[in-house]
């Protein structure tokens, strides 16, 4: 059985900011994947994922972001990540994700990117 995922959604101009709350793990990553896919299918071309309220992410959640980044790039859009805590930043670095998905300091920088 899947667990739920809470994701706050806001628009800043033409930028969609998604703020997942709590955990993204193998139990709720499929729901997060569906949500990002739906927004890209709806025509969003600049999506920011704000990590401020995220305490944990596993490789299942990182996989969702990689799929999302690939998909939005193929629409000439971009996916930007921001406000990661150190322990999460470390696993993005170990995975080599920080070289292919932009990670910036905070939401202001992500919206302006």
């Amino acid at each position: 059985m899947a667990n739920n995922i809470e994701v706050l959604e806001e628009h800043e101009g033409n930028v969609l900011v998604l703020t997942p709350v709590g955990r993204v793990d193998s139990s709720n990553a499929p729901l997060f994947e569906r949500m990002i896919k739906d927004r890209i299918d709806d025509g969003e071309t600049h999506i920011v994922v704000d990590f401020t309220k995220l305490s944990f992410i596993s490789s299942s959640g990182m996989r969702v972001l990689l799929i999302g980044a690939k998909s939005i790039r193929s629409n000439q859009g971009k996916l930007i990540l921001c406000s990661m805590r150190d322990s999460i930043r470390e696993i993005f670095s170990i995975s080599g994700f920080d070289t292919i998905i932009p990670v910036v300091k905070d939401r202001v920088a992500a919206v302006d990117a």
Binding site: M1, S26, A69, R73
Partner: protein, 140 residues
């Protein structure tokens, strides 16, 4: 010398990971483990339990069982994950794609890479029908 043990059997479902994570956090906070150590232990458990559920070959008629032990000995945390599926050794996993450009980056295989990279020791044995993964984390 700090000595402490934590033992839990989790149901073979990914929805159990939340409860497991909460228990590990309580254990870590009780013993003043660094935040990073609690995070990487929870990450390892999430990856290994998920991997076991997805790839472990549980025999029909035998209830899948995953048992987790955490212990602290001096300056080291040891995590043992035992499961009763068929022989399955994730330490043999090949390295994932870490360098391709976004468009061609292969998806998957990251979980075990993270576990391997962050643990100070990561070993596997198959003993009497039980898969046993042992991880160790040094506390500096």
């Amino acid at each position: 010398m700090i000595t402490s043990d934590f033992h839990v059997q989790v149901a073979a479902r990914v929805s159990e990971l939340r409860d497991l994570a909460a228990m590990v956090e309580t254990f870590g906070e009780t013993h003043d483990l660094p935040h990073r150590t609690i995070f990487i232990i929870n990450l390892a458990l999430d990856e290994l339990v998920t991997n076991t559920l997805v790839h472990g070959s549980f025999q029909e008629g035998i209830e899948p069982k995953i048992v987790i032990d955490l212990s602290i000995r001096e300056n080291r945390v040891r995590v043992v994950v035992e499961s009763n599926g068929g022989r399955f050794d994730p330490t043999e996993d090949t390295e994932p794609d870490l360098t391709s450009e976004l468009e061609t980056r292969a998806i998957g295989g990251l979980g075990i890479h993270l576990v391997k990279t962050q643990a100070d020791k990561f070993s596997y044995e198959f003993d009497n029908g039980i898969n046993r993964l042992t991880l160790e984390y040094n506390l500096t």
